[in-house]
């Protein structure tokens, strides 16, 4: 435990600046969306949304009410930009945590100490989870506090449900990225593999919404399990989806630990 704590403290010191920048950026974008909401909430957004081609609406969420505060937030932020930023954070952090140290050669120095390889993976992963939780909270607090001021309506239970779903979804992305980082010796390869999985997953999600045949394989896409509007709007939990996300994380983390335990370092 001392080893993990030491790694955790050091990683926090090394990452605190970038973490604060990420958190401030995410919170600022929440405030930005809140700020523009009053000026457009009375516009004929729903009619505009209905006039869009059906395929486009299907791809981005046909069930979303764009004229409602939570629908607007989902389409403008939680459904598009937010996942993009948090996927970039998850992949980038996971890849740098192991692949970066191997690539820079500092992993050899670290493993010259009486530190277990699994502690290295778990220490880095634990920090990732804490940082992820902090970023989600930094995004959602302005939404909860700012909605009444901006004249929008959002339930605290819906925000909490969205927070949990987002945490499990991005944790799954970070987990398979950690596995990818344990697999490869360079950060660039680890990032490439993780980003490729995310892009293929996203493409499959879009195609599955447009094509009946491909929809049979929709469950293979990670984005199939990410539905921010459902959680934010009605606070209804899809426990099966959350279980799948948790299973992906646990499986990926276990695979990362096992692989990292048995691989050669610095060859």
């Amino acid at each position: 435990m001392t080893q993990i704590t030491n790694l955790l403290k050091r990683t926090f010191k090394d990452r605190r600046t970038s973490l604060v920048i990420y958190a401030a950026g995410l919170a600022a974008y929440s405030v930005f969306i809140l700020a523009i909401w009053p000026s457009i909430k009375n516009a004929q957004l729903q009619q505009l949304w209905q006039s869009y081609p059906p395929a486009l609406k299907k791809a981005f969420g046909a069930n979303i009410d764009l004229a409602a505060f939570d629908g607007f937030f989902t389409l403008e932020y939680f459904g598009q930009l937010w996942p993009l930023i948090l996927i970039a954070f998850s992949v980038g952090f996971a890849s740098a945590s192991l692949g970066g140290e191997i690539e820079k050669g500092t992993m050899e120095l670290l493993l010259s100490q009486p530190v277990r390889r699994r502690s290295v993976v778990l220490g880095k992963y634990l920090f990732f989870l804490l940082a992820l939780a902090a970023l989600i909270i930094a995004t959602l607090i302005p939404v909860v506090l700012g909605a009444p001021i901006a004249g929008g309506r959002v339930g605290i239970t819906g925000v909490a449900a969205l927070g949990l779903q987002a945490f499990l979804f991005f944790a799954a992305v970070g987990s398979y990225s950690i596995f990818s980082a344990a697999l490869f010796s360079t950060r660039s390869r680890a990032i490439f593999a993780s980003v490729a999985v995310a892009i293929i997953s996203y493409a499959l999600d879009i195609l599955a919404k447009l094509n009946n045949f491909v929809s049979n394989f929709h469950f293979l896409s990670l984005f199939y399990y990410y539905d921010p509007f459902r959680y934010l709007h009605s606070a209804s939990y899809a426990w099966g989806d959350l279980t799948v996300l948790t299973a992906i994380s646990l499986f990926s983390l276990t695979a990362a630990v096992l692989w990292f335990n048995h691989r050669d370092i610095a060859c």
Binding site: T2, Q3, N6, K9, R10, D14, K104, G105, T106, E108, L109, L111, S112, Q113, P114, V115, R116, H262, D264, I265, A266, C267
Partner: protein
């Protein structure tokens, strides 16, 4: 005032421990794909011994050290430290090991003191030798790692390896980048540690370094251990060059007849004598003439390896040169 490196437990007091091999390799083999890194390595290092691992670049020294440090998994065979499998019990045995990697990479964004604190956090015992080592190696803890020269980075690596007073030191080219004064300081530290019974496994491609500090030497080439010798035997076996300047021209045919003399080259009043073994007879023969100057040139690693490969390699080289000339 005696150095604090002299204080503490003296491992040599335990004769039982001395008799056991602290480091042992049995048929240790590591392949990188089809390429052998090290093949069928058998060696053992006793407690309190400084063992030199000598070989040219790419011979397999770093691979062996990484196997001992549990960084690489052996393809076959076994590396053991303190009787434990170096791969399976890597974490446990590292509590007793200080290590300097061949290619020292440090956390660039930290200060030296911060880095030492961080590494200290993984050990149960604090680095009680840290302050003394920093002073003796003239290293400032407040400096940024990224601003350090190659030599200063090496000093940081030395402090990191020694500050916890480990029982075993596994050092890969430890004086790389150090200036001659700091090399001396490092050798002094090593010999102090030896006096306290610490075991040292030291890889090097510098013959004089190995001769100076080691008790025994393993010679490795092309991934194979060629020879293990006590340092005295190594001194006897190695080829040396003696340059003798005479007051006037001399007849050196008598010298050629001495069994220790391998070759004599003459340039005016200067003789370059290539010899192996005891020099007593040669000195006595030379003393019959008036000598102006006498020097021993340090043999190159190439010369040294010729001692073990005989003339075959030289002949190969000569043949290749001859072919090129044709």
């Amino acid at each position: 005032m005696p150095s604090i490196l002299y204080r503490g437990t003296n491992l040599q007091s335990s004769t039982a421990e001395n008799s056991a091999a602290v480091i042992a390799c049995r048929s240790l083999t590591k392949y990188y794909g089809p390429q052998p890194g090290i093949s069928d390595l058998d060696l053992s290092v006793a407690a309190g011994e400084i063992f030199g691992f000598l070989g040219p670049n790419g011979a397999g020294k770093t691979t062996t050290i990484r196997l001992l440090m549990g960084m690489l998994r052996p393809t076959s065979g076994l590396a053991a430290i303190l009787g434990y499998d170096a791969w399976k019990k890597s974490t446990e045995i590292k509590r007793h090991i200080g290590h300097i990697p061949g290619d020292v990479r440090l956390y660039e964004h930290m200060r030296v003191g911060e880095l030492l604190d961080y590494i200290d956090g993984f050990r149960a015992s604090t680095g009680r030798l840290r302050a003394e080592l920093l002073e003796r190696l003239e290293l400032a803890a407040h400096k940024n790692v990224k601003s350090l020269s190659r030599g200063n980075r090496q000093k940081v690596a030395i402090v990191l390896a020694v500050m916890h007073d480990p029982d075993i030191l596994i050092l890969d080219e430890p004086t790389l980048g150090l200036d001659p004064l700091m090399q001396q300081a490092f050798y002094t530290i090593l010999l102090e540690l030896k006096q306290r019974g610490k075991t040292v496994f030291l890889s090097s491609h510098i013959l004089s370094e190995v001769e100076r500090v080691c008790d025994r030497v393993g010679i490795v080439k092309d991934g194979r251990l060629i020879e293990v010798q006590a340092i005295e035997a190594l001194r006897q076996n190695k080829i040396r060059h003696m340059d003798v300047t005479f007051a006037k021209e001399v007849n050196f045919e008598e010298l050629r007849r001495l069994p220790q003399v391998l070759e004599v080259q003459k340039h005016d009043n200067v003789l370059r004598i290539t010899l192996r073994g005891d020099i007593d007879a040669i000195i006595k023969e030379l003393a019959r003439h008036r000598i102006v100057d006498l020097t021993f040139a340090q043999p190159s690693l190439e010369d040294f390896f010729l001692s073990f490969y005989g003339a075959s390699r030289k002949n190969d080289t000569n043949n290749q040169s001859a072919k090129k000339n044709i």
